[in-house]
């Protein structure tokens, strides 16, 4: 049952997979800057995919700003041009050749198997649309379909007074990916669009695996990966999460973990900066996440080096600024910002907010695992995981701040959102917890031994 003429499942599936592969390939043209020697192949693909997605996001926003419709041939041609240019530009080509080739993981073990089993179970329920989020209907999916039909972001439609349930002020990366897949398939097919969720889930596992490679104890690393896969799958099924953008922020946080868990370096700056921009392009909650992530990594640099490294600040902040400024321009230009986003701080709401948070944490879809969000403050005690814990805790405090300020009835707001929002944080906290557990408690472990190569 899909409206309009659906293109058929096979072409739509192939279009999404081909587009995802093209994003990874496009991102891989910048490997010289983005990748550090020793980064594993799956993690490289995550970084490449995020940078490719951001490049397409910028391209489509640029076409919108110029008023040029998204014709599939034009988009494909510009993508090919971007790949070609990045391939032949001497500095990029030289830097790419300097990066050692990636090796596929040869150490797959029981934790990988369990995580992939959980992924497969979730995948079955997602592609059948059984665990599709209702927000795919009210928000993400309808936007993607509409943008596909409109051949661009339909700002006039978003600005309609009755379009407020669409969250018109949200960044549009996910609907753009939906629309781009539909452009290449020749129609919008919801089953195939669920593949994006599966891609983000796989990206979460790949990034987590990279971070857990550095866990002191292999058994704990494998257990953490399995717990991450199982937790994400069971919450994705219980809370109906397929087709939404929450996976993207969770994946962005995990993709930034390797950089946050080792001493700052050049590639780590790019990886954290791209993860921040990816989160900021996914949901409005990703914007504060991006600011906190960039500030955290920059603060680590300043603490380490006792000076502000402006080049590092650029590497960290430029991707978020590049995607954030055009988004804000369009929001302001079309008056899309919803009044329900901001209001005065009302401490008296604490009486309602406290019990509502307890109720939200008891969401049966989490099976009690929502309490893992409190790992954030606990992991502040462990030196190596402190940046991750800091980021998660500040983002959590931001969500609480919104509940104290948004001019809407707080209880319903919290019940309908909090258990989903902590999905952004719990996967990264699980991984950081696994690393802390594997290395010892209370900062007794030495700093991570894998230092950046000279010159970074």
């Amino acid at each position: 049952m899909s409206p309009m003429s659906a293109p058929g499942l096979l072409p739509a599936t192939l279009a999404v997979l081909a587009l995802a592969a093209a994003l990874v390939f496009l991102g891989s043209r910048f490997s010289g800057a983005l990748i550090r020697p020793g980064d594993g192949a799956p993690h490289r693909w995550v970084v490449y995919g995020m940078s490719g997605a951001l490049a397409v996001h910028l391209l489509l926003m640029g076409l919108d700003l110029l008023g040029v419709p998204w014709h599939p041939l034009l988009v494909a041609g510009l993508l090919a041009l971007g790949i070609g240019l990045a391939h032949v530009l001497p500095p990029l080509a030289r830097a790419r050749r300097a990066v050692e080739p990636a090796r596929l993981p040869s150490d797959l073990a029981w934790g990988d198997g369990l995580a992939l089993f959980a992924f497969a179970v979730f995948a079955c329920t997602a592609v059948t649309l059984w665990t599709m989020t209702p927000d795919f209907i009210y928000h993400w999916g309808i936007k993607g379909h509409r943008f596909f039909l409109h051949r661009g972001v339909d700002y006039a439609w978003l600005a309609r007074p009755w379009s407020w349930p669409l969250h018109p002020d949200y960044p549009n990366l996910l609907p753009e990916l939906f629309a781009a897949g539909a452009l290449f398939a020749g129609g919008f097919e919801p089953h195939a669009q669920m593949l994006w969720t599966l891609i983000f889930f796989l990206a979460m596992l790949a990034a987590a695996r990279e971070a857990l490679r550095t866990a002191g104890d292999r058994w704990t690393g494998q257990a953490s990966l399995a717990i991450l896969g199982l937790t994400s799958a069971l919450f994705g099924m219980g809370h109906l999460m397929a087709g939404g953008a929450d996976w993207m922020i969770a994946a962005a946080f995990l993709a930034a973990l390797p950089a946050l868990l080792r001493p700052p370096d050049r590639a780590g700056d790019w990886q954290a900066g791209l993860a921040a921009a990816f989160a900021a392009s996914s949901k409005i909650e990703g914007a504060p996440f991006a600011v906190i992530l960039v500030a955290t990594q920059l603060a680590r640099r300043v603490i380490d080096e006792r000076r502000v490294d402006w080049k590092a600040a650029l590497r960290l902040g430029l991707p978020s600024v590049a995607v954030g400024v055009p988004w804000l321009l369009q929001v302001v230009r079309h008056h899309l910002f919803l009044g329900s986003n901001a209001g005065p701080f009302e401490p008296a709401r604490a009486r309602v907010i406290g019990p509502a948070l307890v109720e939200a944490l008891a969401d049966p879809a989490w099976h009690g695992l929502s309490l893992l969000v409190f790992l954030g403050p606990v992991l502040l005690l462990v030196r190596r995981t402190r940046p991750v814990a800091w980021l998660a805790t500040l983002q959590l405090l931001f969500y609480l701040y919104v509940y104290f300020t948004a001019p809407v009835e707080p209880r319903g707001y919290i019940i309908s959102s909090f258990s989903r929002l902590i999905f952004h944080l719990i996967p990264a906290l699980l991984v950081a917890g696994g690393i802390a557990g594997g290395e010892g408690i209370a900062g007794s472990s030495p700093p991570h031994p894998v230092r950046a190569p000279a010159g970074s």
Binding site: P3, W130, M132, G141, I142, T220, I227, L234, H367, G437
Partner: protein, 143 residues
């Protein structure tokens, strides 16, 4: 020892929880055609949604692309009924992405709506001209 016991217990708990979710998903899948759900909880395959989709397929064939359509469905007298009508409209908007769909009681509807769909309400308004009796609904032109 404790450092391994905690992840091991967590792992077992997660595995059991995933099994519970798998069971719930399979049970729901088996019962999808028999279950009566609120519009907010509709999923593809829900019979009520199939009826709405059939109506809107007919609407699509008769209304020019890009039209503004006011959608009316039973709202009842209470908040729950109003919520149901609201979510039916959101589903209608999803199923008609080539049109602008708004609830019939939206303040903008009298000025902007070009067509109205009556999904089991029994609309009788002077500005509405009946265009067609469709599968499970009626289509009006707004004068």
């Amino acid at each position: 020892m404790l450092r391994k016991a905690i992840p091991a217990l967590l792992l077992v708990w997660c595995a059991l929880s995933l099994a519970v979710e798998m069971g719930t998903a399979l049970e729901g899948w088996d019962l999808q055609e028999a279950s009566a759900r609120r519009p907010a909880a509709w999923r593809f395959g829900t019979p009520q949604l199939d009826r709405l989709a059939a109506c809107l397929d007919d609407v699509r064939a008769r209304v020019p692309r890009g039209s503004v359509i006011a959608f009316a469905s039973p709202a009842g007298q209470d908040v729950a009924g109003e919520r149901n009508a609201f979510f039916r409209t959101l589903w209608a908007a999803y199923l008609l992405p080539e049109h602008d769909v708004l609830q019939i009681d939206d303040p903008s509807a009298p000025q902007l709506a070009e067509y109205a769909v009556d999904f089991r309400v029994g609309l009788d308004l002077p500005r509405l001209e009946l265009l067609a009796q469709l599968r499970g609904c009626r289509l009006f032109k707004v004068r």
